[in-house]
C-alpha cells in the first residue's frame, strides 16, 4: 500500500477563523505520492477551507505547510501552482467570455516566437486534455455557453493541464453522472500510477470506497478520525462525520400516489440559437401524480435541466411545442412568477448563480418568494411574519447557521442548498421541480432532504427530480424517466431495478449490455 510512500505535503496545526467561526483548528493532514486521500465531513466542516489554504487561495491562517519536508508559505495560488499543487475548486471559477482553451491556459498562455499568444498550440493541447477526460467539445467554445456539468469537466481539465504533483479535487463530480465519473476515475488511476498525490473531496460515499486509499474525516474544523478507505463503510464514515449514529439509507417513504398532477405531452423546445449544437427536449412525454416522486435520469446534457426550466417558464430556450397540463388544465408558464402562482416551484442546479443573493441574509433569501404575501397594511411587510417563516423553514430543514441575519454566502454549500429549498417550500407548491437538489450536500443533510421529500410527497405534492446520482434516483423515486438526446427513452419502476440497470439505460445499452 501507499502507506510507506514519501510524504509530498504535510500540514501541521492548521487553523483558520472567519469572524466568530473556526473553520479549521489544529488540523494535521498529509498527502503521499501515488495515493488518493479522501477528505470527508459534513457541509461546513472546513474541507474546502483547509484545501484553499494548501492551494494558496487563503493566505491568512495559522499553522505550517511543508512540501517535501520544506516549510513554505504561499503568497497566492500561483505560488502553490509553482510548487506543484493544483486545485479544482468547488465553485466553478471560470471566465465566461473566454473560450475553453483560453480558460485552461489563463495566466500561462503559450507564446509564439514574436510573443503573441499561440492560439493553435493552446487549442491542440486543450483538445487532448478534453479527450483524456472523455468529452469532445470544441476548445473554442466560450465557457459561458456550457452547462454546469461541462464546466466541471473543464475545471478538471484545467487542473490536469497543470501537471501537478499534488492535485486537490473539491467535489469534482457533484454535477457529473456516473458515466463521466467513471471516466474521471480512469484518469485518477492513471495519475496515481504516475505518482501524484491526490486529495479527493466528495459527498458521494460510493465514490470514496471506489477511488480513495485513505480517508480523513473533519468535524467542525477538527480531524476526528482516519480510515482505510477501502475497508470503511458508509455508515462508519457518516457516524464519524456527524458524531453519532445516522441512517444513511436513501429512502423517502410516503403514501400512495394520487391522481395525475402533471402531464407533459410531446414537449419540444425550439432553441433560440441553433448553432450551439445542443439537443433540446425533442418530444418528451411524462406524467407525475400527486404524492409521487418521479426521477429524471440521463447523461450530461441529456436535456433534464432544459426540461425543468421549460416547465417553470425559466428556459433560456425560446418557443416550445407540445402540451403541459397541470391538474388537467393546459398551462404555458410565461415566467417563474406565473409558474409559482400556478403552484409550480423550481430549485435550480446552480445555487450560487441562480439560487441565492449571496451577500444578503439567510432571512431575506428564505422569504424572497413569499415576501409580497406577508404584507400587513398596504405595502408594509410584517417583520414578524418574515422572521417566523424564515425561522420555521430553517428549523424544519435543519439549516446550520448562527443567525438568520448571516449573509447566506457564508453558509456551507449544503446549507445554502437548503435555503433555496426552503424558499420554494414556503410557496406551498403542488408540483416541485428539483434540479440536482443534493449537489454538494453532505450525507447527513441528504438523508434529511430525502426525508423531507418523503414528507412533501406524503402531503400530496408531486415531485419531479433530476439527478445524476443513480443511488439517489433509485432510493428516493417511485419511477425514473430516462432521457437521452432530448427524448424520454425508458421509464423504470425503482422497486424493480438496481443501479446497473439504470446506468445501462442512461447510456443507451440494453439490459444485456450491448451498445444500442
Amino acid at each position: 500500500m501507499a502507506n510507506d510512500a514519501p510524504k509530498l505535503v504535510r500540514l501541521t496545526g492548521i487553523g483558520k477563523r472567519y469572524g466568530g467561526v473556526l473553520a479549521c483548528q489544529d488540523v494535521d493532514f498529509d498527502i503521499r505520492a501515488g495515493e488518493v486521500h479522501a477528505l470527508l465531513g459534513e457541509n461546513g466542516a472546513g474541507k474546502s477551507t483547509l484545501m484553499k489554504i494548501l492551494s494558496g487561495d487563503i493566505t491568512d491562517y495559522s499553522g505550517e505547510i511543508a512540501i517535501e519536508g520544506e516549510t513554505v508559505r504561499f503568497g497566492g495560488p500561483v505560488d502553490a501552482q509553482r510548487a506543484g499543487i493544483a486545485m479544482i475548486h468547488q465553485e466553478l471559477d471560470l471566465v465566461p467570455g473566454l473560450s475553453i482553451a483560453e480558460n485552461l491556459y489563463l495566466g500561462r498562455e503559450p507564446r509564439t516566437r514574436i510573443g503573441t499568444v499561440d492560439g493553435k498550440q493552446m487549442r491542440v493541447w486543450t483538445a487532448d486534455l478534453l479527450r483524456r477526460i472523455g468529452i469532445d467539445i470544441d476548445p473554442r467554445r466560450p465557457v459561458g455557453e456550457l452547462r454546469v456539468g461541462e464546466q466541471q469537466l473543464v475545471t478538471i481539465a484545467r487542473a490536469l493541464s497543470l501537471d501537478a504533483k499534488v492535485l486537490i479535487m473539491d467535489e469534482p463530480t457533484s454535477a457529473l453522472s456516473t458515466a463521466e465519473v467513471e471516466q474521471l476515475f480512469g484518469v485518477i488511476d492513471e495519475l496515481r500510477r504516475e505518482g501524484a498525490g491526490i486529495v479527493y473531496i466528495s459527498h458521494r460515499m460510493d465514490e470514496i470506497g471506489r477511488v480513495a486509499d485513505r480517508a480523513t474525516v473533519l468535524r467542525n474544523g477538527r480531524i476526528v478520525e482516519e480510515f482505510d478507505a477501502r475497508k470503511m463503510t458508509a455508515e462508519q464514515a457518516a457516524e464519524a462525520m456527524v458524531g453519532r449514529p445516522v441512517r444513511t439509507l436513501f429512502q423517502a417513504s410516503h403514501g400512495e400516489a394520487g391522481e395525475e398532477l402533471l402531464r407533459v405531452e410531446n414537449l419540444t423546445v425550439h432553441p433560440r440559437r441553433p448553432r450551439s449544437g445542443r439537443k433540446e427536449p425533442a418530444g418528451i412525454s411524462l406524467t407525475v401524480r400527486r404524492g409521487e416522486i418521479v426521477g429524471l435520469a440521463g447523461l450530461l446534457g441529456a436535456g433534464r435541466t432544459e426540461l425543468l426550466e421549460t416547465l417553470y417558464g425559466a428556459g433560456s430556450a425560446g418557443r416550445w411545442d407540445g402540451r403541459v397540463l397541470v391538474d388537467g388544465v393546459d398551462v404555458r408558464p410565461r415566467g417563474p412568477r406565473a409558474a409559482l402562482a400556478k403552484g409550480i416551484a423550481f430549485v435550480p442546479e446552480d445555487r450560487r448563480v441562480s439560487g441565492l443573493v449571496l451577500e444578503h441574509s439567510v432571512l431575506a433569501n428564505t422569504v424572497l418568494s413569499i415576501v409580497d404575501k406577508l404584507r400587513t397594511a398596504g405595502v408594509v411587510v410584517s417583520r414578524r411574519a418574515e422572521h417566523e417563516h424564515a425561522a420555521e423553514s430553517a428549523t424544519r430543514l435543519r439549516v446550520k447557521l448562527s443567525s438568520l441575519a448571516d449573509p447566506v454566502g457564508t453558509l456551507s454549500g449544503g446549507n445554502q442548498q437548503k435555503v433555496v429549498f426552503g424558499r420554494m417550500l414556503l410557496t406551498k407548491p403542488k408540483l416541485l421541480l428539483l434540479d440536482e437538489p443534493t449537489r454538494g450536500v453532505d450525507i447527513n443533510a441528504k438523508a434529511e432532504i430525502y426525508e423531507l421529500l418523503g414528507e412533501i410527497a406524503g402531503q400530496g405534492i408531486g415531485v419531479l427530480l433530476a439527478s445524476s446520482e443513480l443511488a439517489e434516483l433509485i432510493g428516493v423515486c417511485d419511477r425514473v424517466v430516462v432521457l437521452r438526446g432530448g427524448r424520454n427513452v425508458r421509464e423504470l419502476r425503482t422497486s424493480e431495478i438496481g443501479e446497473a440497470d439504470l446506468l445501462a439505460a442512461t447510456m443507451g445499452e440494453t439490459a444485456g449490455g450491448g451498445v444500442r
Partner: protein, 337 residues
C-alpha cells in the same frame, strides 16, 4: 455542537459592526468637525455654526439630495440614471411654462410636471428592462432627449416666473418653495428633502417592494427564479427616479423663480457621488437612503466650508476630488462579509 439551528434573528452585536453601519455618518461628522475647526469666526462666533448658515447648507443640498434619493433606488437594482439633471431642467422649464405661459394653477401644473418626469423615467426603465439595453446608455440618451425637449419647450430661453393674479403670472403659492418658515429660519426645500428622506427610508425598510428591489440588485437571475417581477421592479425604480427628479425641478423653479433649459447640468454626477459616498454599491443590492442623505450632507458641508473660507475655485476642485476619494475609501474599512 447542537444540531438544532440557532435561528435568532439578531446577529451577535459586534461593536465594530455597529460602528461601521454608521460609517458614512462618521465621514459626515469628520467633515462637520473639520468645518467647525476651519470655519471663519467673527466676534468669537463660529460662522459655520450659525443657524442661518446651517440651513443654507441643507437648502443648497436639497435638490441634489432629492435626486440622490431616487438615484439610490436605481443604483440599488444595479442601474444608474444619468438623465436626472436634464429631467430636473425639463421640469423646471415645464413648471415655469405651465404656470406663466399657460396660466395653470399650482396643483395642475405640479401634477403635470410630476407626471412628465414619472413617464420619462418609466420609458427609460422600459427601454432598459424590456430591450435589455444598459441603463448607462439609455439614460445617457435620455439626458440628451430631456435637454432637447426642455430647450424646445422653453424656446431655448430661461422662463422667468412672476407672481400675481394677472395673466402670465404664477399663483403666489408657488413662490413658497423659495421661502423660509418657522420664524424665517427653515427653508421649505430643506423640509421637502427631509420629509422625502424619511419616507424613502421607511419605504426601503418596510415594503415588500424594497425586498424585491434589493434582490434584483443582488442577483437578478436568482430574483427572477424566485418569482420576483424583475422587469416591473426595474421599470418602477426608474419611474421613481424620474418622479423625484421632476420634483427637484419644481423646487428648483420655485427657489429661483425661473425655469431654464440648462438647469441641473451635471447634477447627476453630484447625486451619484452622494449615493456612493453613502455606501451604496454601484453594482447594486447593497446600500441605504440614510447613507445617501449623509453623503449629500457631507458634500454640502464640504462645499459650504470651502466657500466660507474663500478657497480658490480651482483648488476647491482638487480638494473636493480628494475628499470624495477619501470618503469612498472609508467605505472599504467596513469589515468584509
Amino acid at each position: 455542537m447542537s444540531l438544532q439551528p440557532d435561528v435568532r434573528a439578531k446577529r451577535k452585536v459586534d461593536w465594530r459592526e455597529t460602528l461601521f453601519s454608521f460609517q458614512s455618518f462618521f465621514g459626515l461628522i469628520a467633515v462637520f468637525v473639520a468645518a467647525i475647526v476651519f470655519s471663519p469666526r467673527r466676534n468669537g462666533e463660529i460662522l459655520f455654526l450659525t443657524s442661518d448658515n446651517l440651513f443654507n447648507v441643507v437648502r443648497a443640498v436639497s435638490e441634489i439630495g432629492i435626486i440622490a434619493i431616487g438615484m439610490t433606488f436605481v443604483i440599488l437594482v444595479g442601474g444608474i440614471d444619468l438623465s436626472v439633471g436634464a429631467v430636473l431642467g425639463l421640469s423646471a422649464v415645464g413648471s415655469a411654462v405651465l404656470l406663466v405661459h399657460d396660466d395653470l394653477g399650482v396643483v395642475p401644473a405640479v401634477l403635470i410636471v410630476l407626471a412628465v418626469g414619472l413617464v420619462f423615467g418609466l420609458l427609460q426603465g422600459m427601454a432598459s428592462a424590456l430591450f435589455g439595453i444598459q441603463a448607462f446608455i439609455v439614460t445617457l440618451a435620455g439626458l440628451q432627449i430631456a435637454r432637447g425637449l426642455a430647450r424646445i419647450w422653453s424656446d431655448g430661453q430661461g422662463v422667468a416666473i412672476a407672481y400675481g393674479d394677472g395673466p402670465n403670472e404664477a399663483p403666489v403659492t408657488f413662490s413658497l418653495l423659495g421661502e423660509r418658515t418657522f420664524g424665517g429660519v427653515v427653508p421649505i426645500p430643506a423640509l421637502i428633502f427631509a420629509g422625502l428622506a424619511v419616507l424613502a427610508i421607511l419605504f426601503l425598510r418596510t415594503s415588500a417592494f424594497s425586498r424585491h428591489l434589493y434582490a434584483v440588485g443582488g442577483n437578478e437571475k436568482a430574483a427572477r427564479l424566485s418569482g420576483v417581477p424583475v422587469n416591473r421592479v426595474k421599470i418602477i425604480v426608474f419611474g421613481i427616479s424620474g418622479l423625484l427628479a421632476a420634483l427637484a425641478g419644481i423646487v428648483h423653479a420655485g427657489q429661483l423663480n425661473q425655469g431654464s433649459p440648462n438647469d441641473g447640468a451635471g447634477y447627476e454626477l453630484d447625486a451619484i457621488a452622494a449615493v456612493v459616498i453613502g455606501g451604496t454599491a454601484l453594482t447594486g443590492g447593497r446600500g441605504s437612503v440614510v447613507g445617501t442623505v449623509t453623503g449629500a450632507l457631507l458634500l454640502g458641508v464640504l462645499n459650504n466650508i470651502l466657500a466660507l473660507n474663500n478657497i480658490d475655485a480651482n483648488v476647491q476642485l482638487l480638494i473636493k476630488g480628494l475628499v470624495i476619494v477619501a470618503a469612498a475609501a472609508l467605505q472599504r474599512l467596513r469589515p468584509t462579509s
